[in-house]
């Protein structure tokens, strides 16, 4: 097994384990922390795929900003462990069964799809994940979506402020 | 819907979005001994409940068991930042009550000591405001020069903080030349330091923003709350006991009463600073007047009242009459006249009143201190309501609350 495979499996196991912990943690703060670990694992995958820019942006945006916001909100409203509402066991069980069957269904689907059989991906080579080509593409072909997204973001910010001010 | 049934909220809890913070009694901002149970909404203070009494020492009860001269050490511990004012306020009360007239030189010496202690009091208050806004260094700069004041005290009475300075009828000893030299040193060095201190804070925008518009109170409310001293003057009322009811020959001096306009923390800071400048000018005038006494006049340091002022030590050793007076005074065997008196002085942070009732016994029948801190700490809630938590801290220190005085 090559070093890349080792890393891949380690990171995958890490990601899935942490994701499960997000689910089962009773305390939302713990959930947030586990989710941050998931994001780190995913960033690790990005690095494996040599998508450096996305890896670092993933950490800055998700781990550094979004999750801080989550943490902030949880601390602000200070939800206690015991006051966290719990669904009934049956509902939970149903949820797990539904998620599991969803997974099974999709896996089965993937197994049957012929187009992707035997196709490999390029792991650490290739330059498209680096900042230079990405920047070129972003500011040439995709400049209009880029600007639109910035407007979207601005309006979201304004919206958040307005909602918060109420 | 039944699945919601377990989410029952306690009554009123939906409206309650505040947190209860318990500030004190060992919180750094409370300087030891107050407790504020604050309701805060985020950083905003919604309400607060002040608890005091953490160093209640029963001064008033204690004073009922002590002859007059032994009460002086107790008054030391009222507002310990300016003990000499308390000492002298007590002595002035006794002298008024016992109808003792003081020589002018004693008055002027007292004025010097009192104004020195006013400076040290305001100095601590203002530098603590600085500390509570986060600037520690200015505090240390001025503390160095407070040491000069302490040296003068030490030269006069032998102690630094709880001075027990002066006696009923005058001082326990004449000022030495060293004391005057030290006073001159103080007068030379101090203005520069004060200027530096002002430069460090007064026009610094961070400091101005921290103090302006916080902890403000209107003149009418301040009076209703019983404010006196710098805190009332900051609100715009130029009430000063030194001017209104002069004691210790304050009428002989030319000084101004600084007043503010809004009564906020910045005004209080400015008023205290301005008062320090006035105090320096008063000390200079008094020192000049003292130097005009020549010859035997320059040796006067007490009134000639053998009933209340201890005779000279040499006389005690040699003369019978002096020994008898000595014994009578120390044993507290002199009956006080019957009656009552209220007498006030301008203490470090307001009108410090002494209400003395005598039933003709040897100790006061009842002695009540009008402690300015105690009276205006009540207004704290009104001062900080709606402000930020940080404002509350600054307001607390800029009110110059001295726990020893507050709790008595």
């Amino acid at each position: 097994m090559s070093i890349i495979q080792v890393l891949f499996f380690a990171l995958s196991a890490f990601a899935i384990g942490s994701a499960i912990m997000v689910l089962v943690s009773k305390n939302p703060i713990h959930s947030v922390l586990w989710l941050i670990l998931v994001f780190f694992a995913i960033s690790g995958h990005y690095i494996l795929l040599n998508a450096q820019f996305l890896a670092i942006v993933n950490i800055i945006v998700y781990a550094g900003a979004i999750m801080v916001l989550f943490l902030f909100v949880i601390m602000l409203i200070n939800v206690k462990k015991d006051s966290e509402p719990q669904k009934q066991f049956l509902v939970k069980l149903l949820g797990v069964v539904a998620g599991g069957s969803f997974l099974t269904l999709l896996v089965a689907l993937v197994k049957q799809t012929a187009q992707i059989q035997g196709r490999n991906l390029l792991m650490k080579d290739g330059v498209i994940g680096l900042i230079h080509p990405l920047g070129k593409a972003l500011f040439n072909e995709y400049v209009v979506p880029f600007e639109i997204s910035s407007v979207l973001f601005l309006s979201a910010m304004v919206g958040a402020v307005i909602i918060g001010k109420k | 819907m039944e699945q919601h049934s377990h989410i029952t909220l306690p009554k009123g809890s939906i409206e309650k979005t505040t947190t209860t913070l318990n500030i004190g009694p060992t919180h750094p901002a409370t300087h030891g001994v107050f407790q504020n149970i604050m309701e805060v909404d985020g950083e905003r203070v919604v309400s607060t409940e002040q608890t005091v009494g953490y160093i209640h020492r029963a001064f008033e009860k204690l004073a009922e068991r002590r002859p007059l001269y032994q009460i002086t050490p107790i008054t030391d511990r009222l507002n310990y930042c300016s003990s000499p004012i308390n000492n002298m306020g007590w002595h002035i009360t006794c002298e008024r009550f016992l109808k003792i007239d003081l020589p002018k030189r004693v008055d002027y010496l007292r004025v010097i000591i009192m104004e020195l202690s006013r400076i040290s009091d305001h100095l601590i208050c203002n530098s603590i405001v600085g500390v509570d806004t986060g600037a520690y260094t200015g505090f240390l700069y001025v503390m160095q020069y407070r040491e000069l004041i302490y040296e003068i005290y030490e030269e006069v009475c032998g102690s630094r903080l709880t001075t027990n300075i002066g006696r009923i009828g005058g001082f326990e000893r004449n000022f030495t030349n060293t004391a005057f030299t030290k006073l001159e040193k103080f007068l030379n060095e101090y203005p520069g330091v004060l200027r530096e201190f002002e430069k460090l804070f007064t026009r610094n925008r961070i400091f101005m923003e921290r103090t302006q518009g916080t902890g403000g109170i209107s003149a009418a409310r301040a009076m209703n709350y019983g404010f006196t001293g710098p805190n009332l003057r900051a609100a715009g009322v130029d009430y000063d006991v030194r001017v209104q009811q002069p004691y210790s020959s304050y009428q002989d001096f030319d000084f101004k009463v600084p007043v503010g306009t809004t009564g906020d923390n910045y005004d209080r800071f400015l008023v205290r600073n301005a008062e320090m400048w006035e105090s320096i000018s008063i000390i200079k005038q008094a020192y000049q007047k003292i130097q005009e006494f020549k010859g035997a006049d320059a040796e006067i340091y007490h009134a000639d009242v053998p009933e209340y002022y201890l005779p000279k030590k040499e006389d005690v050793y040699t003369k019978m009459e002096a020994l008898i007076w000595h014994f009578k005074i120390i044993m507290g065997e002199i009956d006080l006249p019957k009656g009552q008196i209220y007498s006030a002085v301008e203490g470090g942070n307001g009108e410090l009143g002494f209400y003395l009732i005598s039933d003709g016994g040897r100790t006061p029948f009842r002695l009540h201190f009008r402690r300015p801190c105690f009276i205006y700490y009540q207004a704290f809630e009104e001062l900080i309501k709606g402000g930020m938590l940080s404002d509350a801290v600054v307001t607390l220190s800029s009110l110059n609350l001295i726990a020893g005085e507050l709790d008595a």
């Binding site: - | 050490p73 030391d76 260094t137 032998g158 326990e172 000893r173 925008r205 130029d238 101004k256």
Partner: protein, 178 residues
């Protein structure tokens, strides 16, 4: 509110000028002040090595005085104990016996004389109260100790050295440098 006196003086409270609004100018001014203090002489008294001269009237530890012949001056009249607001002084009087004239000056003397330094507030009233030139506060400050019993100063701790038998120490206690 009308003014009560003609002495009122409004404090200088101008609005911020443009330059003050910029924060930086005044911050730099303040930093210059603190910087200039780096080169100032430090007033620090490095205590255990350097000692500060106390004033001659400093109110520190008590001493019991003797006269020139080395006799104790205290006559146990109790005035100091009465004058003490902290009630820190305890004494027991005794009659002087034959043959003790060279130890005690008066016919009565303090057989036991204790001051509880933990109670004492060093107000100096005992010194003033003494009609016999016997008790003084000294320029030595009271040292700290580990136990309460280390603060009960009895006569041995308080008396100054005997000028006849221990002249050198006596001179030291008087502050006369030998």
């Amino acid at each position: 509110m009308q003014t009560l006196t003609n002495k009122a003086l409004a404090v200088q409270r101008q609005p911020m000028t443009f330059w003050e609004r910029l924060y930086l100018i005044n911050i730099i001014k303040g930093m210059m002040i603190t910087f200039s203090h780096m080169f100032k002489k430090q007033p620090t008294i490095r205590y255990p090595e350097q000692k500060r001269e106390f004033s001659p009237v400093f109110r520190g530890l008590h001493v019991l005085n003797r006269d020139e012949e080395g006799r104790e001056r205290c006559t146990a009249c109790g005035l100091c104990a009465v004058a003490c607001p902290a009630e820190a002084i305890t004494m027991e009087a005794a009659e002087r016996m034959e043959g003790e004239e060279n130890i005690y000056r008066e016919e009565k003397y303090a057989a036991k004389y204790e001051i509880n330094m933990l109670r004492c507030i060093f107000c100096g009233l005992c010194e003033e109260a003494c009609p016999k030139d016997a008790i003084y506060l000294s320029e030595t400050f009271a040292p700290a100790n580990y136990t309460r019993k280390g603060f009960i100063y009895d006569k041995n701790d308080l008396l100054i050295p005997n000028p006849l038998t221990n002249a050198a120490d006596y001179a030291k206690a008087k502050g006369v440098q030998a």
